[in-house]
């Protein structure tokens, strides 16, 4: 029975195949909000927003920081084309902290020239990284 709930998840980056395996659920953040996907989801293509991707396998869960890309969801298969994605052990904590304070600073002291959208994305990224490390 348990086997029937599994579907194939592939996370591909330009440099490598990041993850490939049978999972029961995957959750991540999209431009429309956070979503969780089980098997037999309606076919859909979504754009990724910076956040955490949680992969629920039969033996437990894995998390990673997903920053940009898009996902193609089919009934028995999900492909995430990630431009940037990192496992917790690949993240540089200090850099993430620095990026976070830089982005916060930029949003706080905003001038007409400030690219708020960019600063917010940077902040989201930094937060995702820090959160993944826990």
């Amino acid at each position: 029975m348990a086997d029937n709930n599994l579907f194939t998840l592939r996370i591909i980056t330009p440099e490598r195949v990041f993850y490939e395996g049978e999972v029961s659920m995957v959750e991540f953040n999209t431009t429309e909000g956070e979503i969780g996907i089980y098997k037999k989801h309606v076919p859909m293509t979504v754009i990724v927003n910076p956040g955490i991707v949680t992969i629920t396998e039969a033996e437990g869960t894995k998390i990673a920081a997903l920053h940009a890309g898009f996902a193609e969801i089919l009934q028995d298969k999900v492909v995430i084309l990630a431009e940037i994605i990192e496992w917790p052990e690949e993240i540089d904590v200090e850099r993430a902290q620095a990026a976070k304070s830089r982005a916060e600073e930029r949003i706080r002291s905003k001038t007409p020239e400030t690219d708020i959208l960019r600063a917010e994305t940077a902040l989201q990224r930094a937060l995702a990284r820090i959160h993944v490390i826990g």
Binding site: I12, E15, E32, E72, E83
Partner: protein, 290 residues
């Protein structure tokens, strides 16, 4: 006949050239292996990217979107991917010929140069908008993002009307094809249309939904699509460059070997000639005394 010393010197110089070409061949063989692996690893990504963008475009074929039609005014832009170093046979000049003599010949172009050789060859004739030569040493996806951001900005502002990518496609170790690819406006080629139809019949049981809506999805996806094409172009170009250099250096090494063989023959002949001459002189001298 050249003197023994001249021949010896010439042989020495060819021998050291041969050593260099041999070493370069070995280096590019190793680099080629790595570049080939990279190209294979990233292939997956581009395939998926291509399929997805095509399926969206098919669905929204008639959409009036800024990325789907060419700009009213402005030049055509070409991103030219060449190498920073020479000694790679016809690798660089083939890409340049594609621009100077191909379908874009005679037009006023804006060049985005990736690779010093291409920039140097084209700067006399065209305007060089930007130079990203450093990235070709070790192309990273981030570099492609920078380039695509720049060209898309210029495209949105109306400075350029169309964007092309000139690079060398890597078919296999010995076959590299200089290719001119149209990036923007995005057009679905007939071939991919056919491919799309097949997969549509094959595995799409339910129609694909898009979230956010089509137009917004295109806004976000097309830059990613362009980036991935540029990155793919760079990766393949690096593999082709090393392949081309390996071939060029291989033939240089074997040419050097041939020359050394000939020179050795000449040298031995000259040596024998001088010994014979010396002997004749000694005998003649001895005869004169007695």
């Amino acid at each position: 006949m050249a003197s023994m010393r001249d021949i010896k010197r010439r042989k020495g110089s060819i021998q050291s050239t041969q050593q260099i070409t041999k070493a370069m061949k070995l280096v590019s063989t190793v680099k080629l292996q790595r570049a080939k692996q990279n190209a294979e690893k990233s292939g997956n990504y581009f395939h998926c990217m291509f399929d997805t963008v095509n399926s969206i475009l098919k669905k929204t074929g008639s959409l009036d979107h800024k990325y789907l039609k060419s700009g009213q005014s402005g030049k055509k832009a070409v991103i030219v991917i060449t190498s920073n170093r020479g000694l790679a046979g016809g690798y660089n000049s083939n890409v340049i010929k594609l621009i100077t003599r191909g379908e874009l010949a005679g037009e006023d172009l804006a060049i985005y140069a990736v690779g010093k050789k291409g920039r140097e060859a084209l700067q006399r004739q065209y305007e060089i908008k930007a130079d990203y030569s450093d990235v070709i040493e070790e192309p990273a996806y981030v570099d492609a993002m920078v380039i695509s951001k720049d060209v898309l900005e210029a495209f949105s502002k109306g400075e350029i009307s169309e964007i092309y990518l000139a690079y060398t496609a890597f078919k296999n170790t010995v076959v590299h094809v200089p290719t001119l690819l149209k990036l923007l406006p995005v057009a679905i080629s007939e071939e991919s249309e056919k491919m799309g139809e097949e997969t549509a019949v094959g595995d799409d049981r339910a129609p694909m939904n898009f979230e956010p809506e089509d137009e917004e999805a295109l806004n976000l996806l097309i830059p990613k699509y362009i980036t991935s094409l540029i990155y793919g172009g760079m990766i393949e170009a690096v593999a082709s460059e090393n392949g081309a250099r390996m071939q060029a250096m291989d033939s240089a090494t074997s040419n050097a070997e041939e020359m050394i063989e000939n020179l050795t023959l000449l040298y031995n002949r000259a040596r024998q000639g001088s010994i014979t001459q010396e002997l004749t002189e000694i005998i003649a001298g001895a005869n004169a005394i007695s």
